[in-house]
């Protein structure tokens, strides 16, 4: 390398940057502030949660926190039923939403004729935008009575009802993200499979869907993420009884989730009381759970993306 070259390059770049200076610097500062503020907000939320939740560990013993009875008026602060409640509903919703959402995405992107696709795609987006209170309302008025009558159970406000509605909320997300992923699979893969004598189904299941797998995974994670954080619908249709789910029949009984507990009780609780701290402890637990889910998802995606980048480079 010729040292003279180096200096010349340096002078040109300096001249360039002085040239565009004012606007560049302003824009860069704005973008930087926006970027940092996201981190700062998350940190602040976390600190606030910690501050309000940590006293719980002095006021309530760990074994009490993980006991099976949540009845704050009489000082029972067992969060286990809420935890299992959230788990049952989220899992139930995922079990319904993931297969259904993926199949719908495959149908829209691979099978439906063009005019139907142009109609279904915006429809899915609209469905995704329905506020969850509206869905909860529909759940109370339509789905709950239906569940009660069909299954002959005392109340239709059950975990199952909640899971179905949550699935309904997650499905549009899953469909739209997965459909985009399937859409970006090169036509040449499909052509290659068809030209080898594969049927349309074999092409879809053996080539197109696996080729879109990282996008499909993202779709699943985003859908489940939406289900975990959902409050309103769940509060409205699950019956809100903090009972421990035991056995399969629990699916058709009322239960209560962590989110619904916070939403329902936070308004009435005395600031700084044991109950108040316990609710924040639940919030902290939720925060950590969704953080873990998201980190796992992005780690998996990151690995998948790096692998495909290595292949394509």
């Amino acid at each position: 390398m010729n040292p003279e070259d180096g200096t010349r390059v340096m002078t040109t770049t300096t001249r360039k940057s002085t040239h565009r200076k004012p606007l560049e610097i302003l824009l860069e500062a704005l973008v930087r502030v926006a970027g940092y503020s996201a981190v700062v907000f998350v940190a602040l939320i976390f600190i606030f949660l910690m501050r309000e939740a940590l006293p719980t560990f002095n006021e309530i013993s760990i074994s009490e926190l993980f006991s099976r009875r949540w009845y704050p008026i009489e000082d029972y602060f067992g969060t286990l039923p809420l935890l299992t409640g959230s788990l049952v509903i989220t899992l139930g919703a995922a079990l319904i939403a993931v297969p259904f959402g993926l199949m719908t995405a495959v149908y829209i992107s691979e099978i439906a004729p063009r005019w139907l696709r142009e109609f279904l795609k915006p429809l899915v987006e609209v469905l995704g935008g329905i506020p969850s209170v509206v869905l909860g309302f529909l759940g109370i008025l339509v789905l709950a009575p239906l569940v009660r009558e069909i299954l002959h159970i005392p109340t239709g406000l059950t975990a199952f009802t909640g899971a179905v509605l949550l699935a309904g909320m997650a499905i549009p997300t899953i469909v739209s993200v997965a459909e985009d992923a399937l859409d970006t699979v090169p036509k040449s893969y499909r052509d290659a499979a068809l030209a080898l004598g594969a049927t349309r189904w074999q092409t879809i299941w053996r080539i197109t869907v696996p080729a879109a797998r990282s996008g499909v995974l993202t779709a699943t994670m985003l859908g489940i993420g939406r289900a975990i954080g959902e409050t309103m619908t769940v509060m409205m249709v699950t019956g809100n009884a903090p009972q421990i789910a035991s056995g399969l029949s629990a699916i058709f009984m009322p239960l209560r989730t962590m989110t619904a507990t916070i939403a329902a009780e936070m308004g009435e609780v005395a600031n700084g009381s044991v109950h108040y701290h316990a609710l924040f402890y639940i919030g902290l637990a939720l925060f950590l759970i969704s953080l873990t889910v998201n980190l796992t998802a992005s780690a998996v995606l990151f690995r998948a993306r790096r692998r495909s980048e290595r292949l394509l480079s």
């Binding site: 290659a192 030209a195 080898l196 004598g197 080539i207």
Partner: protein, 253 residues
């Protein structure tokens, strides 16, 4: 005794919507020969090739008329089975298009879909196919590595191996060397000469030299018509139509 042609094509017309891409094409393609198709860009060579294994079916708004018979049977008959046809008549694309999977899985795709072989036999079939495509020596120890990590020339031979694994009768090639460097091109051409012993080959090419080097018969397409079709030797030394001569000598096209 005269040989029965592999493909008999009569008065083939093909439309994309309102534009007609093929006009009254009639041609016989003989078994165990390499038939080269040449002609300027947009004259319908790829369209013609895709008619032979019905890959045009995947393009909406198209219309075909005329008759194409494979060993005497109309491949566009209402009861004809397109998947079976495509297993018998394989297509090598212009750009190598291996699946984003391992080398082994690429070659095994066809047999697995057909469900005919498995286990030990599948491994043998994969090896045979890779040998048939003159790729085995280069990949024997890396069968599980991703197909997309191969060089383009290797990828194209992998696509040929993938096709051999379904045991076709006919191999269609659409400008198989246009994305390859001269050395990879030579390898594919050598491979074509070997494959000719067992398969009927139809190849579209923009390279006169390639057509002259490898093919037995050559057809010249121009504006959707088959202008001239004859022994490659004849086409390149004494073409009967003036346009053919002009194209071959590079005066237009």
């Amino acid at each position: 005794m005269t040989l029965q042609p592999t493909f008999q094509i009569e008065m083939l017309n093909f439309h994309y919507g309102a534009t007609q891409a093929l006009h009254n094409v009639s041609i016989d393609i003989m078994p165990r020969e390499i038939t080269a198709l040449i002609g300027p860009s947009g004259c319908g060579k790829s369209t013609f090739l895709r008619c032979l294994n019905r890959m045009n079916d995947t393009i909406p708004d198209t219309e075909i008329s005329g008759r194409i018979r494979l060993e005497g049977r109309d491949i566009y008959a209402p009861d004809a089975d397109t998947t079976e046809l495509r297993q018998r008549v394989g297509l090598v694309f212009q750009r190598p298009n291996p699946f984003p999977q391992s080398i082994f899985d690429n070659v095994a795709f066809g047999p697995r879909v057909l469900g005919t072989v498995s286990g030990r036999n599948l491994q043998e079939l994969v090896e045979d196919s890779l040998r048939g495509a003159a790729l085995w020596d280069e990949v024997a120890t890396t069968l599980t590595s991703p197909a997309l990590s191969l060089s383009l020339g290797q990828q194209q031979r992998l696509c040929i191996a993938r096709l051999l694994a379904v045991k076709p009768d006919v191999i269609l090639m659409d400008e198989p060397c246009s994305a390859l460097d001269p050395i990879a091109t030579t390898k594919v051409e050598e491979l074509m000469r070997q494959l000719k012993e067992q398969y009927t080959i139809v190849v579209v090419t923009h390279s006169m030299q390639q057509a002259a080097r490898v093919s037995d018969k050559t057809g010249f397409f121009w504006l959707g018509e088959l202008v001239e079709f004859d022994e490659t030797n004849t086409i390149f030394t004494r073409p009967t139509v003036q346009r053919t001569e002009e194209y071959i000598t590079g005066r237009f096209g």
